[in-house]
Subunit: 446 residues, 2 copies
C-alpha cells in the first residue's frame, strides 16, 4: 500500500511467526472522510432555513418566499449564524488535530511535545466560543448551596477570587472573560450560577488536552483504539437520544444534543469502517492521528454541547487508566519504552508484561501495598522484588483474569467500557438532579 511505501508502517508484535509490516496511521483516512461528510452535511443541517418547498409550483410564490427570506436575512434573526460558526469552529479544531496527528505520525514528535498538540488544535474552538457565546457559568450543586455549613460564604469567597483573576487577565489582555448571557441553557428556577470567567476556558482547554491523550494511552492491542471510540460514541449517542426523544425537554438542550448527535453519528460510521480492518488480526494500525482525532471529536461535542462534566464521567475507564498509569508516567517507578502485554507464541495468549528493576525501600513497600489491593502483580526472585506488572488497564485485566487471547482481551475491555458508560448514564440522570437540584433532561417532565 501507499502508506507502507512512504514509511508509515509498524510491526505487530503479538502475532505468531515473523512480524510482518502493516500500514500505520490509517486513521487519517476516516478522519478526512469524516471531514468531507461534515462539510456536505452543512446544507442539510440548515435546510429548514433555506428551502422554500413550494417554490417549484409558480414564480410569484417563489418571489414572495424570497422576499421573506430576504427580510429574515437582513434582520439577521431567522438564520442561526451563530450555530453555523459553532459548527465550523468544531470542524476547524478537528481538522487541525488531524493535521497535527499526521505530523506526529510522520515525524515522531517527542512525548512531552505531543501531549500539548490538542491544546493547539482546540484554539479555534475556544476562540469562537469566546467571540460567539461566552457562556462561562457553571451551576453550583445544591448541597453546597444549602446543606454544607458556610456553603454560601465559600461560594462568595470563590466568586470574589475568580473575579479578581478575571480582572488581572482583562488588565493584561484588554479582553473581558465573563458570561454575557447568563440564562443560556439553564431552565430551572433560580439555580445558583458561578461565573468562572477565564478559568472556564482553562477548564475547556484541559478537557481538549485530556480527552485525546486519554484515548491515546489506552491503546496497544488490535482494535482497542477504534473499539473504545465506537463504544464511547454509542454511549454519547444514547445520551443524546434520551434528550431528542423526550418531548418535554427545553429547546436549548434539544438543540445542543441534536448538534452532538450530528457530530457523533458520522463518527460512528467512519470508525466502524476502520474497526473492520483494525480488529484482530489487524490489517492496519490506526496511528496517533486516529486517537487524537477521536478524542477531539468527544471534546468538541462536550464543549459545544455544554456537557463537559458528562463527557468526563463517560471517559471514566480512560481516567482510571490514566490515574493508574500515573506512577509510571511521572517516573515514580521505572517505565519501559513499551508497556504492551507480552505475547506468548506457544499458547497464542497475551500475558501481563513486567517492568523489571531493583526497587528502593519505599518503592518496595508501595508495590507490596498495591499487590495486597490486587492492583498489580509482583515478580520475585528468592523473595526479592525484581519487577511488577506494567500499570495499564490492559495489563491489570490480564493480572485479574489470567492470560487470554488478544481479541478476547480487547472484547473484555470494550464490554467493561460499555457497561461503565451505561451505568454512568444512569448515574448522571439520577444522581445529577439530586446534586444540582435540577436536571436539564427530566426538568420538563416533572
Amino acid at each position: 500500500m501507499f502508506f507502507i511505501k512512504i514509511g508509515l508502517k509498524g510491526k505487530d508484535m503479538s502475532k505468531r511467526g515473523d512480524p510482518i509490516e502493516i500500514a500505520e496511521s490509517m486513521g487519517v483516512i476516516p478522519a478526512v472522510t469524516y471531514m468531507m461528510l461534515m462539510f456536505l452535511l452543512i446544507p442539510f443541517i440548515f435546510f429548514k432555513y433555506l428551502v422554500s418547498f413550494s417554490s417549484l409550483s409558480n414564480d410569484s410564490q417563489m418571489t414572495s418566499n424570497y422576499s421573506d427570506q430576504y427580510l429574515a436575512v437582513t434582520n439577521n434573526r431567522l438564520f442561526p449564524h451563530n450555530k453555523l460558526s459553532e459548527f465550523l469552529s468544531g470542524l476547524l479544531s478537528l481538522q487541525s488535530i488531524t493535521l497535527l496527528g499526521l505530523f506526529d505520525d510522520l515525524f515522531d514528535i517527542r512525548w512531552r511535545h505531543k501531549f500539548f498538540m490538542p491544546a493547539i488544535a482546540c484554539v479555534p474552538l475556544l476562540i469562537v466560543y469566546y467571540v460567539d457565546f461566552s457562556v462561562t457559568s457553571v451551576v453550583v450543586p445544591t448541597f453546597i448551596q444549602h446543606k454544607i455549613i458556610y456553603g454560601p460564604q465559600m461560594i462568595s469567597i470563590l466568586n470574589w477570587a475568580i473575579r479578581q483573576g478575571n480582572h488581572i487577565v482583562t488588565y493584561i489582555t484588554g479582553l473581558s472573560f465573563s458570561t454575557l448571557v447568563t440564562d443560556y441553557s439553564v431552565t430551572t428556577s433560580d439555580p445558583l450560577l458561578l461565573d468562572l470567567g477565564i478559568f472556564y476556558y482553562a477548564y475547556m482547554a484541559s478537557i481538549s488536552i485530556f480527552s485525546p491523550n486519554a484515548i491515546n494511552i489506552l491503546a496497544g492491542i488490535n482494535g482497542l483504539e477504534v473499539g473504545q471510540s465506537v463504544v464511547l460514541a454509542v454511549i454519547f449517542l444514547i445520551n443524546d437520544l434520551c434528550y431528542l426523544f423526550l418531548l418535554s425537554v427545553s429547546q436549548a438542550a434539544y438543540d445542543l444534543h441534536l448538534l452532538s448527535a450530528i457530530f457523533i453519528i458520522p463518527f460512528i460510521g467512519v470508525s466502524l469502517g476502520l474497526l473492520k480492518y483494525n480488529w484482530y488480526p489487524a490489517k492496519v494500525f490506526v496511528g496517533d492521528t486516529y486517537c487524537y482525532f477521536s478524542g477531539m471529536v468527544f471534546a468538541v461535542v462536550g464543549i459545544l454541547g455544554h456537557f463537559s462534566k458528562t463527557l468526563l464521567i463517560f471517559l471514566l475507564p480512560q481516567i482510571i487508566n490514566f490515574i493508574y498509569s500515573a506512577p509510571q508516567i511521572f517516573g515514580l517507578v521505572p517505565c519501559p519504552r513499551h508497556r504492551l502485554p507480552r505475547f506468548d507464541p506457544e499458547s497464542n495468549l497475551m500475558h501481563p508484561s513486567y517492568a523489571l528493576f531493583k526497587p528502593r525501600r519505599w518503592q518496595a513497600i508501595a508495590l507490596q501495598i498495591l499487590e495486597k489491593l490486587h492492583l498489580i502483580s509482583i515478580k520475585r526472585e528468592k523473595d526479592t522484588i525484581v519487577g511488577f506488572s506494567n500499570m495499564t488497564l490492559i495489563n491489570l485485566f490480564l493480572v485479574w483474569f489470567g492470560p487470554m487471547k488478544e481479541d478476547h482481551l480487547c472484547a473484555l475491555l470494550l464490554t467493561t467500557q460499555f457497561a461503565m458508560g451505561l451505568s454512568m448514564l444512569c448515574v448522571r440522570h439520577t444522581l445529577g438532579p439530586w446534586i444540582f437540584g435540577y436536571d436539564n433532561l427530566s426538568w420538563g417532565v416533572k
Copy 2:
C-alpha cells in the same frame, strides 16, 4: 532535517556538481503557521464588538456594559456572526487544501486526480457561501445593456436560460440557488444585475480550481513559486489599500477589502519567511502544498471579497502561461515529464529545454507559425523539425532574452508579474467604470 528523513526530499537539477538532496514540501510549515496566526487573529478582528474599554475602572460601569452587550447578543444584531462564519469557512478551505497538498506530496497523487483537489477543498467555502450569503448576481456591463444592438434582448434570453437551469437543479436537489439579497455591495443607481444562480457556484468552483493549479504550473526554478505568490499578494494588498484609505468608499466595499487585507497580510509574512530559504540557491523546496495553499488564499480572498473578476485579471501571467502550455498539456504536441529549463554547468546559465519529436504535417505547420510569432524556438536537423522549446513562460523568457542565470530569470519573471499586476490595477479602475457604468471604488468620490 526531519523532512529528508521521511523521504520528503528532492534534487535540485540546476546546480553545479552532484545534485544534493534538499528538503521538499517545506510549504507545509508556513501554511500551518499561517493557520495558527489566523486563529489567533480572530479575537482582534472582532475586538470592537467584544471589549468594554472602560470596564476596568469600576464595576457598575462594567455591569452596564455587559448588559448592553447582552442585549446586542440576544438581538443578534451587533455581533457580525455571518462575518465570523465567512472567515471560518475561508480558514476551513485553506486547512483542507493544506491537508490535501500534504497528501499529494506524500503519496504523489496522479496529475489528473490532483487537478481537482482544490475543488474538494473549496467545498466548505462554497457551502457556507450558499447557506450564509447566496449573492449570485453579477453586474452586466453597460455597453451590453445599451450600446449593443439586441443587448437587452440577449440578456433576457440568458436570464431565462439561467432560470430554467436553476429550476432543474432545484427540482433535483430541493435546494434553491438564487440571490436573496440583491443590493449587496452594489452602490450605484440601478445597474443591471444578472442572477447567475447555480452557475455562479460553478464559476466560484472553477476559480478555486484554477487559481491553485495556475500557480502550481508556473514553477520549477528556485524562488518562483513563493516569489510570484508574494508579488500577487502585494498587488492584492495595494488594491485593498486603495479601498481602505479612500474615505468615500461604501461601507460594504470597505468591509470586504478589510477582510481581504486580513487574509493577505499574514500570508505575505509567512511567504517572505519561506522565500528567504527558497531563493536561489534554494535550501528548501516548497512542494505542491505551498502552491495549492497560496493559490487557495487568493481564491478565498477573491470569493469572500466578491472580486473574483479582479482576481482573474491579476492572475493574468498565470493565465497566459496556462493558455501557452495548453497544447502540451492537452496532448496536441508531446509533453516531456519535466519541462524545466536546461541547466548548463559550464556557463552556470539556464537554457530553454526542448521537447524532441517527429512532427506530423499539421503539427509542423502550427509550430512554424508559432515560431514566426516568436512564441517558440524550433530545433532543426538538416531542415527537418526535430523539436521545439517547451511551452512554459519560463522557457519563453529564455527564448526571448537568451540564456541567463537562474536567479536573474526568476527576478525577471517576478518583475514582469509585478508590472502586469500594477497595470491591471490601473486598467481595473479606469476601464472598469467605463465598462460596467460604475466603480465601487471611485463612485463615492464623484
